[in-house]
Symmetry: C2
Subunit: 368 residues, 2 copies
């Protein structure tokens, strides 16, 4: 298929550091190219891809020295995409909702993956208005706040097969990876580690808006000799940081839309101790990829016993369910479902009516 | 004509306090209704108008307790406008550039007034891409940074005839009205007033981002007994505040796109002492509505001599050039120029070809 991927311009594809959406766009794009599709990637000019790159701006916005206006540049992005829409069989948007009024008038099949949390003010209202726009969620749980939106499927995130290596023999520590915002509950992770008398390594970014919470509530907890605050870790450090841990602690307290770090842990063979918020019950297999726990007593017991979890089984779950190849295949099902009426039409135009199978798009279909 | 006015949702139309764009949209809308046109105003629900109001959100965004996402709400605004586009002869946008990709695909004639400064990063690039979109500038000077944009005319702002009353006998003070940002040069105004041994009343808003400059550089200057810092003044106070002043000091140092306060002063009969930046040479008539000065020595001399300026002549210039009625008539010329091919087409459809005058839109036309 001829597929357009439309990435945010905030980070490059893949991102230099943080940038979950741009990472997934990169993994998906490369997997689609590897499967033989003609992929065009609309992204910042410092992106690196085997697809056909359409560079909208010389480099990504977050670190651009000129501090360009994001709305202006996404306006230019959308105009470029829609001016070339008829070159593609399907257009896949990853840019939130800015394109909705334009997409509504677009003859080319298109789909939008919503990467963020959806329980924000007014998103329900927006999606009642745009009920005609096909959407993909990254977990079933993510879509609950928007029951009236036009969901076409859930496609879980995936990682390249060889991005992380299986580590059968961990060292003696737990890992925490992610932001330090209150809903990530680093405080719970510290309590679990101390109760197990096990070191905790924290690979975490402190965003400006989390700084007051970090300084007031977390900093005093970091002084214990078992607690090591490493700071933000980049992609090259993650393999060892997560893979060498006995467990990844994920004691969240918010509707996590997907939680990429869980499948990063699986890929390393590292089990996860997680609270059942958001996507966790869909991503985790309790007893196989770690433990789903409901309070700190359960969490501490699970962390003490985590050696019983088979690390090879974690890796197998990753390989079966969470590779970029699997993700790309699921998105292809969505693309084909959406593009089918038009492909059928194109077949008719070429005089292939008698042999081409003509089907109508029959509305949203669950893909999982 | 059937005219759509599309206002920003930041403030109501008219705004409760600050909000230059929304004020002008209000004056224009009411003047068009008064001239017998069918006007539809897309704006926040707390707007007050004699036009047909399409309330996009219950109340304006700036003071909304829920702190709604501006991009989301302007997305909804644009979708509503474009879904009803065929109801109008012309659509007039006042919402910066967010609508450009959609407007390009809109069959209804449309025009955009750019209300802000245009020498910002990347605006030239945006407008080279959108050369097909008809634009109106609010001064000739304003458009200079965007020579490649599709300018259809300059329409100066206007005020309702009776908004301000002529004040023939001023009191003994100068007035300064506006933001206290560095480019407005309140420091120059203070120097002029002190050199003339004349009180200065300052009706000024301190935006958060101007606070450090205000505290460090301006606050010490305000301690002189001749200087009175009144703070932000609302519409109801302006008539007396400006009208009772011997002169309005406008010693700016930036490319002012229009400078509404100058014509507010004219409407009161108050002369203006202004530096020739941005729109000033177009709006001011040197020697009639005050003085254009090039340095502080000239400014001080002009302020000392300002009693020689005929206040009735200032008011006459306002009545001749800067009423809302005049502004509306100029915009109607723009609308008619843009809508003409379609009106002709509509006439043809009704079988009136033989009598209807059919013309083609012949490209940009200077309106002043």
């Amino acid at each position: 298929m001829k597929i357009a991927q439309v990435a945010p311009l905030i980070e490059s594809v893949p991102p230099k550091a943080y940038g979950g959406t741009e990472r997934i766009v990169s993994y998906l794009t490369e997997a689609l190219v590897a499967q033989g599709h003609e992929v065009t990637l609309f992204a910042s000019g410092d992106s690196i891809t085997t697809a056909d790159l359409v560079p909208i701006i010389d480099r990504s916005l977050r670190t651009h020295p000129r501090r360009p206006d994001p709305v202006l540049w996404h306006t230019l992005l959308l105009d470029e995409v829609f001016s070339r829409a008829d070159e593609f069989d399907v257009i896949h948007f990853h840019v939130d909702t800015l394109h909705y009024p334009l997409a509504r008038h677009c003859a080319t099949p298109h789909v939008t993956t919503l990467h963020g949390r959806l329980d924000l003010p007014d998103l329900d209202l927006l999606h009642r208005r745009f009920q005609d726009l096909p959407l993909v969620s990254i977990s079933d749980r993510q879509r609950l706040p928007l029951p009236d939106a036009h969901w076409c499927g859930t496609v879980h995130h995936g990682l390249p097969l060889d991005l992380y290596t299986f580590q059968p023999q961990p060292q003696d520590y737990f890992a925490f990876v992610g932001r330090v915002s209150p809903e990530k509950r680093l405080d719970r992770a510290i309590e679990i580690a101390l109760a197990c008398d096990t070191p905790l390594k924290i690979g975490a970014k402190v965003d400006d808006n989390d700084r007051p919470y970090f300084d007031q509530y977390l900093r005093p907890l970091l002084e214990h000799p078992l607690i090591e605050f490493v700071g933000e870790i980049d992609q090259s450090q993650k393999n060892d940081f997560i893979g060498n841990a006995r467990a990844l602690l994920f004691p969240i307290d918010w509707p996590e839309p997907f939680g990429l770090v869980m499948i990063e842990a699986f890929a390393c063979g590292t089990p996860v101790i997680a609270y059942p918020c958001g996507s966790v019950p869909e991503v985790m297999q309790d007893g196989t990829t770690g433990r789903i726990v409901h309070d700190q007593a359960e969490a501490i017991a699970a962390a003490r016993d985590v050696g019983r979890i088979d690390r090879a089984a974690c890796r197998r779950v990753f390989e079966q369910r969470f590779t970029a190849t699997t993700m790309a295949q699921r998105y292809l099902q969505v693309y084909q479902m959406l593009a089918r009426p038009l492909l059928a039409h194109a077949a008719r135009s070429r005089g292939l009516t008698s042999t081409a199978r003509i089907e109508r798009y029959a509305g949203p279909v669950a893909l999982r």
